[in-house]
């Protein structure tokens, strides 16, 4: 990071409540979870807390010693609470930016930009929801569990991980009333054939109206196959390298199927959540 702006109040667009804002948040805690992940809890102003599950923020990461993250880093909203003015991110240390995030201590400030993008939808027809994800993807899907509970839907969360202990957000999902199934690499239950059989059984039992997933190509291809076969719709949160996060720069495009055409859509603006049927793995 090379410019740490001091945020002055800037004029909002006339007659429009700003959809997102650049704000200074205060770190409440930043703790390791599960060895590989960290949970960052921020005290954030109300103006950035009108969030929807599946939306994300662009974080201006602190500069770790000897490294120079320059662009902001996109992070899904893991938790938000407008009342308590709290905002949470669950992240995995990957490179310079996330190493910078890991240096944050309680009391530090962090410049955040958000909420950004289009979150998950939950049409009335989708009463029985199935969520399938792995790794950090489970962070992105976490707020969906609360949304499902609030809207009175039934949710099954299939959490995939290398080993049972590394499965993320299991307790969180349960606390929102979801049924949790952990699959993992050690017993092979996370492999596509096993997983597909598991889901087929659920579908046969008549309990899946829609899928939610995230990131992984393997899972996407499988869910597209199942979705097409059984006419089950669903949504996926996707990732792409970003610069602006707002829709201005066209950095973050991915190809999507639109009828017979392939079109580019911006992950930051039209996404990060897209219909599973239109995504291209």
């Amino acid at each position: 990071m090379t410019l740490i702006p001091s945020i002055l109040s800037v004029p909002p667009s006339p007659g429009v409540t700003a959809r997102c804002a650049e704000a200074r948040a205060i770190v409440l805690s930043n703790m390791p979870v599960n060895g590989e992940y960290r949970l960052l809890t921020l005290d954030a102003p109300a103006e950035v807390l009108d969030c929807a599950p599946g939306q994300f923020f662009q974080l201006l990461c602190p500069v770790p010693e000897g490294e120079h993250p320059f662009l902001r880093r996109p992070m899904s909203i893991y938790g938000y609470d407008a009342h308590a003015e709290q905002l949470q991110f669950l992240y995995k240390i990957a490179g310079a930016g996330t190493r910078g995030l890991a240096t944050l201590r309680a009391g530090d400030t962090l410049n955040v930009l958000g909420p950004l993008g289009q979150g998950f939808t939950m049409p009335d027809a989708w009463q029985n929801l199935m969520l399938v994800a792995r790794g950090v993807g489970l962070a992105t899907l976490a707020p969906l569990a609360r949304m499902a509970q609030q809207q009175g839907r039934s949710l099954t969360a299939i959490c995939s991980a290398r080993s049972p202990e590394l499965a993320m957000s299991v307790d969180l999902f349960r606390s929102y009333g979801a049924e949790v199934i952990v699959v993992h690499d050690e017993d092979g239950s996370s492999e596509v054939p096993a997983l597909e059989a598991l889901i087929e059984a659920r579908i046969a039992a008549g309990s899946v109206d829609a899928f939610y997933t995230c990131g992984s190509r393997r899972l996407l291809t499988m869910l597209q196959r199942l979705g097409q076969k059984h006419g089950i719709p669903g949504e996926i949160a996707m990732e792409q390298q970003m610069a602006c996060g707002l829709g201005m720069c066209q950095a973050c495009v991915r190809p999507f199927r639109e009828g017979n055409e392939v079109v580019h859509r911006r992950v930051c603006r039209e996404g990060p959540v897209f219909p599973i049927s239109e995504a291209i793995a």
Binding site: M1, T2, L3, P5, I7, L8, V10, P11, P12, S13, P14, V16, A18, R19, C20, A21, E22, L60, H68, P69, F70, L71, R72, N111, L113, Q240, Q241, M242, A243, C244, G245, L246, G247, M248, C249, Q250, A251, C252, V253, R254, H264, R269
Partner: protein, 308 residues
């Protein structure tokens, strides 16, 4: 309390203040963050005549003090511009600058005619995009191709016509003079510098397009040098662009001779930066007792007179 006069003239146009976005780093989406009418002007992403997909991803990567991009010019074409974008931007008071580009002189000229519509205040000719042709080739690499393309554009439009230069040329002053001679009403210095970055773990280039354009604070000294060189060589105004992020950066370009400035990459770090720069510039003028930016523009003090 009297507020300072931030207005600047760029040729025949007057802007309420000297801060405008750089092409490709701005769109209507920024109105989510602040009122875009505070800006001196609106400069749109370069459009090309037809529909284009742009370059493969990853299209950006970050650097120490800047970034590389190889977006290319994904374009929805002239129809989308006329039918959707122009009406949208016409609702704003800030003048609209439309950036255009093309592979061939013919197509470029045709596009200039096509975008010369009511509601368009000026055309910025992007003759410098390093991401369209291989190895960063562009019309603005040479004075002769610059002259030819500007002559063709000039013949097609009565709107103020700006020529956007590239730092990749070895002869920026000759290119600027060629543009001026063929009727450019302003020179924009500059587009991105051709660069490359490799991920040492995968051994792959960090951009899908292998090379890309460098922007941000890292290129500021190069863009400032070009701004100074062109402001001293040309009669038409020069608009500074490259790495501007702070009030000091804005002042540095104005002092070097820029009549106005464009802010690009800084908006990615801080989407509110342009609104903030306008407020800071106003405060600074008041604190310094500067009543008009004419006192600042081109006020660089060269020891012993002119530079060698």
């Amino acid at each position: 309390m009297s507020t300072s006069d931030l207005s600047v003239k760029v040729g025949e146009l007057t802007f309420a203040n000297p801060i405008m976005p750089a092409s490709g780093t701005f769109s209507e989406d920024l109105s989510d963050v602040f009122d875009l009418d505070v800006l001196g002007a609106h400069v749109l992403k370069t459009i090309m005549h037809g529909k284009r997909a742009g370059n493969p991803t990853p299209r950006v990567c970050d650097l120490q003090g800047g970034m590389l991009n190889a977006i290319g010019i994904p374009s929805k074409g002239i129809d989308d511009f006329r039918d959707r974008m122009l009406p949208y931007w016409s609702d704003y008071k800030a003048p609209l600058v439309v950036s255009i580009s093309a592979h061939s002189m013919d197509e470029f000229a045709r596009l200039a005619a096509e975008v010369s519509l009511p509601g368009v205040a000026a055309i910025e000719a992007n003759i410098s995009c390093p991401n369209i042709e291989a190895d960063g080739n562009a019309f603005a690499m040479r004075p002769d191709t610059t002259a030819e393309v500007m002559r063709r554009l000039r013949a097609e439009t009565d709107l103020p016509l700006w020529a956007k230069l590239t730092p990749n040329t070895g002869e920026p002053v000759a290119v600027a003079l060629a543009a001026e001679a063929e009727g450019a009403d302003a020179i924009v210095t500059a587009n991105t510098a051709l660069g490359m970055s490799i991920d040492v773990r995968t051994r792959q280039p960090r951009l899908g397009n292998v090379m890309g354009g460098m922007s941000g604070p890292a290129v500021k000294p190069i863009a400032l040098r070009m701004t100074y060189q062109c402001a001293h060589a040309c009669r038409v105004p020069v608009i500074g662009c490259g790495g501007i992020a702070t009030l000091d950066d804005v002042l540095e370009f104005l002092i070097a001779g820029a009549a106005a400035v464009q802010v690009g990459t800084a908006t990615f770090q801080s989407p509110t930066v342009m609104a903030r720069l306008i407020a800071e510039l106003s405060d600074w003028m008041q604190a310094q007792g500067v009543t008009s930016l004419g006192e600042i523009i081109g006020s660089v003090q060269i020891p012993g007179g002119e530079a060698a």
